[in-house]
Amino acid sequence: MKTLLAILTLVAAPAFAGAAAAHDVKQDKQRGDEADREAIKVVIQDYFDGIGAADRARLDRAFAVDNAAMVGMVKTDAGGEMRAFKDMDAVIANWASNEAPEGVGRDGEILDMMITDGRIAAVMFRYKDEYYDVLTLLKVGGEWKIATKTFLQR
């Protein structure tokens, strides 16, 4: 597992270079096994950079596509609105179809990560200065996948 993580880290390093802050988990909030924390960081970066690069492969790697769901809270003239996206495959297809993606190296930051029993996790993520994301992750077959995403427009 450690070897795999080392390889993943090396492969992904160039993509992460411009977004080092995304790995800045508060020390006092770290919980769980170090290998799990590192693996979850890779998944979160796949999600964040996957949108940034409109990279379907990275997004597919990050999410449990067939089962994941997303809920968003967006600002409107009336105050705010909650919207549910229950077909994650359609959401990912939309992200991946962006013909003018912003690219990797965007500003993102893991604000908090909690892991229980090495199999279930929740991450609070700052998505630029636009959103807070809550991502819950499940480990199946040794791989962490995003199960739910909730975003709050700041």
């Binding site: 449990a64 089962n67 769901a69 105050g79 919207r83 199999r119 809550v134 199960a147």
Partner: protein
């Protein structure tokens, strides 16, 4: 990005929506009073879910969840006995099922909040131990001043 986002919203015509008030002055977690108040309200929502499930109380469950928007995703054993991800996208149906099946040990079931993180006074995560059977990762949002669960992920213990 905003253009993409809103086009996504437009395309996602399958998604239900309902007016709610999320906007407002951003608060810092340093506001201790607000923090304590939020933690108390979040705890109440989590136990409305847990005891509502145990008691088969549709009222408590629907107070805890935003049923029309929430989803549940979990790791369960498949037909081959192997761990597999499964999802429940109709939370209203899930709550209805729970309401009809109270558990014998309600209301004295053993549940525990293991961890909680509140961001900006408006969105939160809770890690919860549901008896000796499940671990839940719950996502909550403050909707019209009330903390409600909008996503649940779980694993069998």
């Amino acid at each position: 990005m905003k253009k993409l986002f809103f086009s996504l919203l437009a395309v996602a015509s399958f998604a239900a929506s309902a007016p709610a008030a999320f906007a407002g002055t951003e608060k810092t977690d340093a506001a201790a009073t607000d923090g304590k108040s939020d933690a108390k309200a979040i705890k109440a929502a989590v136990y409305d879910y847990f005891h509502g499930q145990g008691q088969g109380s549709a009222e408590r469950l629907n107070r805890a969840f935003v049923a029309e928007h929430a989803s549940m995703v979990g790791v369960v054993k498949n037909d081959a006995g192997e761990p597999a991800v499964r999802s429940w996208k109709d939370m209203g149906e899930v709550l209805a099922n729970w309401s009809q099946n109270p558990t014998p040990d309600a209301p004295d079931r053993d549940g525990e909040i293991l961890d909680m993180h509140v961001q900006d006074g408006r969105i939160a995560t809770v890690m919860f131990r549901s008896r000796d059977r499940f671990y839940d990762a719950l996502t909550l949002a403050k909707v019209d001043g009330e903390w409600r669960i909008i996503a649940k992920a779980f694993v069998l213990q």
